[in-house]
């Protein structure tokens, strides 16, 4: 099943076209790596896939439903697609309350919230920091807690913008293992951006290449325009 189907998508800032994607399909339960140099449009594409930023033109279908980029339509969709930023920010409160936020938004009962928070923190190995002030954590810990916060709300799609770019090797391995584990066990579709080809090989089922806003399929090196045509 296709989670996303995107056609004739463009994103233009002032006069600069940062994304021009004729066709892109994302299959449910797979891991996609999005490769590209700085400024290639990776984060812009993730923002659009996360329903945080509208495209300039084009059609997006999410689970076969056409998407209207109005706040009224997007807000419910964001409950199933969560994005973890390259430099995630944690709310100025405890780690526990950070994870609780998304669950409270979904009006989950307290008992259920506590159970999910415990499980999510255990998944990323951060259960001992539940009551720690979130803004005092190290970069690696922050990244792992941000992933736990995203996973706590049980999304269908997890978007990660360079999840290992600002952490040490130990945390990089831990984060890759977490992403692989949640994909295996919960069948969460994962789309992550990276510059690391080794990470792509070890984690991704599919690799997409972005170059100056144009998308290529790394498997056959073909430009997506040709596929669409």
């Amino acid at each position: 099943m296709k989670v996303y189907k995107i056609s004739k998508l463009t994103k233009v800032y002032a006069t600069r076209t940062v994304l021009d994607i004729p066709l892109l399909e994302i299959t449910k339960g797979r891991i996609y790596a999005l490769l590209g140099h700085n400024g290639a449009g990776k984060t812009t594409l993730l923002n659009i896939l996360g329903f945080l930023d509208p495209p300039t033109t084009g059609n997006i279908y999410y689970c076969r439903q056409p998407i209207q980029f109005t706040e009224f339509c997007l807000q419910p969709l964001r409950k199933s697609v969560v994005m973890v930023e390259q430099h995630p920010i944690l709310f100025t409160t405890t780690v526990h309350k950070n994870l609780e936020f998304g669950l409270k938004v979904r009006q989950m009962p307290k008992k259920e919230r506590d159970r999910i928070i415990k499980e999510s923190l255990a998944l990323v190995g951060m259960q001992h920091l539940a009551q720690a002030p979130a803004h005092r954590l190290s970069g690696g810990e922050t990244q792992r807690v941000a992933i736990a916060r995203a996973l706590a709300v049980n999304p269908e799609v997890l978007l990660c913008d360079e999840p290992t770019s600002s952490v040490d090797v130990e945390n990089q391995i831990a984060i890759i293992n977490i992403l692989r584990q949640v994909n295996d066990q919960k069948k969460i579709t994962i789309i992550f951006t990276t510059h690391d080809r080794y990470q792509v090989d070890s984690l991704a089922h599919h690799t997409l290449l972005l170059n100056h806003g144009k998308l290529f399929d790394a498997a056959d090196g073909k430009f997506f325009m040709k596929k669409a045509g």
Partner: protein, 231 residues
Amino acid sequence: MDLLVDSFFSALLLVASFDPEIVSIVAVSLKVSGTSTVLASLMGIPLGFFIAFESFAGKRMVITCLNTLLALPTVVIGLFVYAFISRRGILGPLDLLYTQKAMIIGQTILILPIVATFTIAAISRIDERYSKTAMTLGANRRQTAFVILREARFGIVAAVIAAFGRVIAEVGISMMLGGNARGFTRTMTTAMALEYDKGQFALAVALGIILLGLSFTINLMFHFFQGKTRI
């Protein structure tokens, strides 16, 4: 130097003796300034938040106007409110002149721009990743706004502290609209001005020390509401 030492001991004696007149003056000051701070906060925080959070035409001009109002002299506000509530004014029949209500109206006008502009500054410096994070976690517009408000609480409480400090120490509006009536509209600052006119410097300074002590206590309470932040 003797004046300050005498005043300090006079202040201690006044506080220790719970002089009924002093208690009444402090009570009126706290009631009037507290009410005007609450009213200005109830209007100024949402106003500042709206201006900072929303995009609309003329936004910069509105901010410039609010910044200009920070320089509004108390005498001008006093005259402005007087024009409305004096017998010949359109609110004359309400008989507000020389009442605590008149002082509250004037003081609220004085600090509304302070609360609003400080709130705008506090909200504007909040990293936009907070709202993006709240949105991606499924928050609606109201919940996202609450996240920003929560992250900006230190700055917003600072706005309220600054506003309270401004009104508890102002004398122009209280004198013009309150009239310094003993037991009704006499505040610490108008009492200080009166004692100064009478040549009772020690009592005037003593009242000033009480005012600072009260202000310090109230700021300690505000500090509790600011909560634990990155500072």
